[in-house]
């Protein structure tokens, strides 16, 4: 009896060691590219080309970062502008989605209006449309409305989304109905009830939607690709894509590329680490629903 338990314990120990080994290996595989990216952004072009694996820039240079933030005589690549555009567009889209999706989500969850089922069906249907089908339609409508190649054209079409409406509806459904009735009894109108009573109760939902919207619009690429054409509307993603394809004469400047790519990753990374629990929670909640 005692023998089997020691055998079992030894086996468990071995298994645990194996698990840690596997986890460490995977962690290296998942974080390694980011570490190499960071190191490369401080290298010179020849150093990056000859020692791509080295984590020690030799010589260490801030050249790429100076160029990225405009402290350099070479201003052929306007990163600061891309950064500004990305921020502006992402903030506007996030504000749009949070407000419009909450309004619609509340109506679909709580307000009884004729045609509600139909509207909800439509929202669910658009949820199922694969994004790749939307490239041509979106270009088309922007052309028709003379919004092509403009800030409103980059913002308005994605300032509301079916996913967000659906998400907010789920959150509103969890609010106890009795609270709204109490507010109504006290003579509050529909909007007052919504704004003063219900909205504060769905704060977790609002934070979730804010994070998802910001992350989505910051990382957005294909839509900005088809909705703009002038370099002055480049965001970090479309600008970066152009930079790497060499049309701006920077095809193989890897340190610059890696630095700019890191700059693109950074805001979402910060958001990710700040709200990690929520990020992870969202995904997991989504899975349970599915």
């Amino acid at each position: 009896m005692g023998d089997t338990t020691t055998v079992e314990a030894a086996r468990q120990k071995r298994r645990r060691r194996l698990a840690y080994g596997a986890l460490t290996l995977f962690a290296l595989l998942y974080l390694g590219p980011f570490i190499i990216q960071l190191a490369t952004s401080f290298k010179t072009d020849p150093d990056a080309a000859t020692h791509p694996l080295s984590l020690w820039p030799n010589p260490f240079t801030m050249r790429s970062w100076k160029r990225i933030f405009g402290f350099s005589s070479d201003s052929s690549v306007d990163f600061v502008r891309w950064l500004f555009n990305s921020t502006l567009v992402a903030v506007c889209i996030t504000v749009g989605r949070v407000s419009l999706d909450s309004l619609a989500g509340y109506a679909l969850a709580r307000l009884k209006f004729p045609g509600r089922k139909l509207v909800f069906g439509l929202v669910l249907a658009t949820l199922a449309v694969p994004g790749v089908v939307l490239l041509i339609p979106r270009f088309l409508v922007l052309k028709q409305l003379s919004l092509f190649d403009s800030y409103p054209g980059m913002i308005l079409p994605i300032a509301m989304d079916a996913t967000g409406i659906f998400l907010m509806r789920q959150f509103f459904l969890q609010v106890p109905e009795s609270l709204e009735e109490a507010a109504r009894m006290d003579g509050a109108g529909v909007f007052t009830t919504f704004w003063r009573v219900v909205m504060p109760l769905v704060r977790p939902g609002l934070i979730t939607l804010t994070i998802l919207s910001f992350q989505g619009s910051w990382n957005e690429f294909s839509f900005f690709l088809v909705s703009t054409i002038s370099p002055k509307y480049y965001t970090l993603t479309t600008g970066l894509a152009n930079l790497s394809s060499g049309s701006l004469g920077s095809g193989t400047q890897y340190p610059l590329n890696m630095g700019a790519a890191l700059l693109t990753t950074l805001p979402v990374a910060v958001l990710f680490f700040a709200f990690q629990r929520r990020f992870v929670g969202n995904q997991m909640a989504g899975a349970v629903k599915g």
Binding site: K112, R116, L135
Partner: protein, 360 residues
């Protein structure tokens, strides 16, 4: 129906309360009227947005797929001519270069899906099981590390991968360390299956392979993913496994403790427990992950645009749609291709749903 809400239930239906009840019903009606207006006011900004920027444009794009619109003029005006099913015929039945390109891209994408979906599902499951262990120190760290690539920009990540997979890049330097000479990844158009067959002495097409199907030699259909596509396969598995890991993790946490304990008491080994208890309980999540994976992988676009612009073994239907429309101004054909892809995704989803449901 409208009167049976909680407000009236609170009121006991006694004779003396009749008047009060009537008043409440009256108020309720008024409220419903007010709610009707408010409902439409609340929902219309988002609804109008979705209609104007999504629903109607899709319908117009469907119309475009039956015309020869070049993207410049007003698509509904005079210069775009209705050409019926010509765009679809060009892609499916006529012996044209467009059709060959289209089916080559379908082949490329098919092998992409074939490799990515199983790999991402299995890897995500493995990571979830590893991270799920109760006794594990630093669970949060590992979970964060694995999920992090999923939240970053596809463009930024693809740039990093292009850098890592250059001919003399970090990956090949690593392979050098273990004595393997790595290929020139992103330039290498040789198919994986072709390269495997070469090991067995088959290095060119046998006689039957010369037959063509949809403009492509049978031999070419069987190429497998090209070395360059393998880079995108690795990238896709790497960036998506974290998301799916979280889904599996949530499902694992939902498995009742006593089920696990019972199997343990019954003397099941860890392996038996995994295959006989954990996997069956995860079936719905596995099905869901496979479905999401399939829908996503058939739309691979950003990575191809960045890393495989001029590589015919990397083009995918999504990328070809963009290229045809926005670079060759053949919006009609591009739209037709987008809708074919749309239908393919729907059909695959429906089939998978039915197939996987049966198994559950």
């Amino acid at each position: 129906m409208t009167t049976s809400t909680a407000t009236t239930i609170d009121v006991p239906p006694t004779e003396s309360d009749r008047q009060k009840r009537r008043r409440l019903i009256r108020e309720e009606r008024k409220l419903n009227g007010r709610q009707g207006i408010a409902g439409w006011l609340f929902v219309s900004p988002a609804l109008i947005g979705l209609l104007v920027f999504l629903v109607i444009p899709i319908i117009v794009a469907l119309y475009i797929s039956f015309t020869n619109w070049n993207g410049a003029s007003n698509p509904l005006g005079g210069s775009a001519k209705w050409i019926g099913l010509d765009n679809y015929k060009k892609l499916l039945t006529s012996d044209s270069l467009t059709r060959t390109n289209f089916f080559r891209s379908v082949r490329n994408n098919f092998y992409f899906v074939l490799f990515v979906v199983p790999a991402q599902t299995l890897l995500a499951l493995l990571l979830a099981v590893l991270v799920h262990q109760k006794a594990l120190k630093g669970r949060g760290f590992y979970r964060t590390a694995f999920y992090f690539p999923s939240v970053t920009s596809s463009i930024a990540i693809t740039l990093v991968f292009i850098f890592l997979f250059q001919g003399t890049g970090a990956v090949n330097k690593l392979l050098d360390l273990v004595g393997v000479k790595g290929p020139n990844w992103l330039q290498d158009q040789r198919g994986l299956f072709h390269q495997l067959l070469r090991v067995f002495g088959v290095d060119s097409s046998p006689g039957w392979g010369k037959h063509t199907l949809m403009g492509l030699h049978l031999w070419d259909w069987l190429s497998g993913p090209s070395t360059s596509m393998c880079v995108i396969i690795i990238l896709a598995v790497w960036t998506t496994s974290g998301t799916f890991m979280l889904m599996f993790l949530a499902a694992l946490q939902n498995i009742p403790e006593d089920v696990m304990e019972a199997s343990q008491i019954d003397g099941a080994t860890t392996r038996q427990r995994f295959w006989r208890v954990t996997v069956p309980m995860l079936r719905p999540t596995i099905a869901f992950v496979i479905m999401l994976g399939t829908i996503g992988t058939w739309q691979v676009f950003d990575q191809i645009l960045l890393a495989g612009k001029t590589n015919p073994t990397m083009s995918t239907p999504a990328y070809l749609t963009y290229q045809l429309s926005f670079q060759n101004s053949a919006f009609g054909t591009g739209a037709a291709m987008a809708f074919l892809l749309f239908m393919l995704i729907i059909v695959l989803t429906v089939i998978q749903r039915r197939f996987l449901k049966e198994k559950i």
